[in-house]
């Protein structure tokens, strides 16, 4: 089935926005409607944004009115660092139930559902296999709240798939995500001057770059992939290797016994170690990503490259300050630019000249080396802003540490 009319939940997340941008380029896609509580952070050309979260009846009305054939649900909270446990539970369990309810029932136009989940579904335990495949279950019941939510949400999706055989349901379980736009427990720990570890443990970790998350979601929209698929970059790193790539010392602050207690002390001190990150720091986790690869998806980044990208971002942030959003969505302005007959030159996002220095710098890490060199030459001839030139030079001169 080819998706023509698509509804995206979680449009304001990074991958939600990136996915919308990718789908906009496809002339085969007639309509893209994004819903979220907050406005999107990326520039969108023809995606329509509706400010609604996961209210069942409202989404249902949108689905029916717009004859949505594909729903991409990227709203799941997979990290307890971003919100309170109660809100996370509301969003993950109640919200999922609501979205599913809006996709089913008599005469519903939805034929495909893509659900973004997390490898936290598998947990992180002592007797785990080294690589989880999609058919494996966690060896013990979930301990942390967020993992329990994820298991419950996936259960609801599975039940939906069983009841609605005519709907293609894809569940994507992603490894730990890394990327400039993301705030996760792990990226918080990796951003500290020294990376905390549990004494005597050097866990295996797997990462996926945020661009690959958007890529996997798009892949699932474009192809019919019923079932569960793991998403994770090639390669599994050990924590000490990650510290080496980030050029930071590893600090075994947490004792192997009484780890939870020590973590709560650290939490008081501002080092946010989430309960699910403790499991990762002790036992680690990796997934077998081959099932998705066999359907034709090619990852842009390996786990190692995702960490190197994070390192580049950290270096840049040290120069220009904290991450600045390259673009802020002003709904009324966008509406004007898109629709008003008075506008003669519709905005073109591919030119860099109309960007401010900070916005441009934030974009730099996503460029290929050749494009970077071209941009450097262009910048020298025209504006020659010293901050931009310095940022480009630091990226060009950067060779990843062994």
């Amino acid at each position: 089935m080819s998706s023509k009319r698509i509804l995206l939940t979680g449009l304001s997340t990074y991958w939600g926005g990136r996915l919308a941008q990718a789908l906009e380029r496809d002339p085969g896609v007639e309509a893209i409607i994004g819903v979220d509580r907050r406005p999107p952070k990326v520039e969108l050309r023809r995606t329509e944004f509706v400010r609604v979260h996961d209210s069942h009846s409202l989404i249902r009305r949108i689905v029916e009115a717009a004859e949505i054939d594909t729903v991409v649900d990227t709203r799941l909270v997979v990290d307890s660092i971003v919100t309170t446990p109660r809100l996370a539970h509301d969003n993950n369990v109640m919200g999922t139930t609501n979205v599913l309810a809006a996709c089913g029932g008599e005469g519903n136009p939805v034929r495909k559902l893509v659900f973004k989940s997390s490898a936290a579904y598998y947990g992180a335990e002592r007797d785990d296999p080294a690589f989880f495949t999609e058919d494996m279950e966690r060896p013990h019941p979930a301990q942390t709240l967020i993992e329990r939510d994820i298991v419950e949400a996936e259960g609801a999706v599975r039940a939906f798939a069983d009841r609605h055989r005519h709907v293609t349901v894809t569940v994507l379980r992603f490894a730990s995500a890394l990327g400039p736009a993301l705030r996760t427990s792990l990226s918080h720990l990796f951003g500290l001057p020294a990376i905390p570890a549990i004494l005597g443990f050097d866990p295996r970790l797997q990462f996926i770059h945020e661009d690959d998350i958007a890529g996997c979601l798009e892949h699932a929209v474009r192809h019919d992939l019923p079932g569960v698929y793991n998403g994770g970059g090639d390669g599994v790193l050990v924590l000490s290797e990650v510290a080496g790539l980030l050029a930071k010392p590893l600090l075994p602050l947490l004792p192997p016994v009484g780890t939870g207690l020590a973590a709560s002390v650290l939490r008081r001190a501002g080092v946010k170690i989430s309960p699910e990150a403790l499991g990762l720091l002790r036992y680690g986790r990796a997934v077998d990503n081959r099932k998705l690869k066999a359907t034709g998806y090619r990852y842009r980044y390996t786990s190692r490259e995702a960490v190197i990208k994070l390192r580049e971002h950290q270096r840049l942030a040290a120069i220009v300050g904290a991450n600045q959003e390259a673009y802020r969505y002003e709904r009324d302005v966008e509406e004007f630019l898109r629709r008003s007959p008075s506008v003669r030159n519709r905005p073109d996002s591919s030119a860099f000249d109309d960007l401010g220095a900070d916005e441009l710098i934030a974009l730099l890490p996503s460029l290929e080396p050749a494009a970077l060199a071209e941009l450097a030459a262009h910048e020298r001839e025209h504006a020659a802003r010293p901050g931009v030139l310095r940022a480009i030079a630091s990226l060009q001169g950067f060779e990843p540490d062994r």
Partner: protein, 278 residues
Amino acid sequence: MTPGTDLRPYLPGVEPERQITDWGRSERVEGLFDRTLVEFFYRLWFRCEVQGIENVPAEGGALLVSNHSGALPPDAPMIAKAIKEEHPHPRPVHLTMEHFFKGFPGFSMLLPKVGGVPAHPANVHRLLYDERQLVLVFPEGRKGTEKLYKDRYRLRRFGRGGFVEAAMRAGVPIVPIAVVGAEESAPIFAHVRPLQRLTGLLYFPITPTFPHFGLLGMLGYLPAKFIIRFLRPVRTDAMGDEPWEDKGLVQTVAQDVRATIQDELIEMLGERRSVWFG
């Protein structure tokens, strides 16, 4: 994608900049141990003698099955070293270890670096079938390493034959190995249960050097002469369709392998004139 698609072509490629594999094995740490401690024990202390190395296949997966002994078993690194040193195509050996070690601080950090892999059936299958590697298992498990000196060279039960099932599923041969010498190098005279509970270890043995010389006493092996004999491989790829479903066959093969090793051990002990000089 149809179910049963061969996923082997989709294994991640090797990143040449990395010195650590996806299993957490570190070239650097392994090399360091190999050049120092393992080299010393292999050449000088145990003076390992290797027989039948040609029974280890030069390529493809194979499951190596050996008898097991010693509080901190010296047999595993010696077998791995033997293949590295004596085989015309030296290959890395993956040593299966109990999940316990993944949960114990220190061991959890070190053992994967030198080739240890938790003994999960999925791990063994991936190594044997997908990555076509050599995997060393000790079906006796801790029943072998905790047995007392008076029970030496008497093989314990071979579990439920899980190792045979693993080899059958992967369609790889089983290479039985008989090791003589390890039992005398690290004899256990008694176990102290209360101390075992206190330390959280698998067991707390009394050996000639442990616990009175501390943790390093675990390495205080006696200089017994090692003889490592690789036996004729048992093929598992011509046993019919899905032979692992036939539990009787699995048990029979497991018993056969156990009997082969036990008989060989008795023969080797009969030929041996001295514990220390072979």
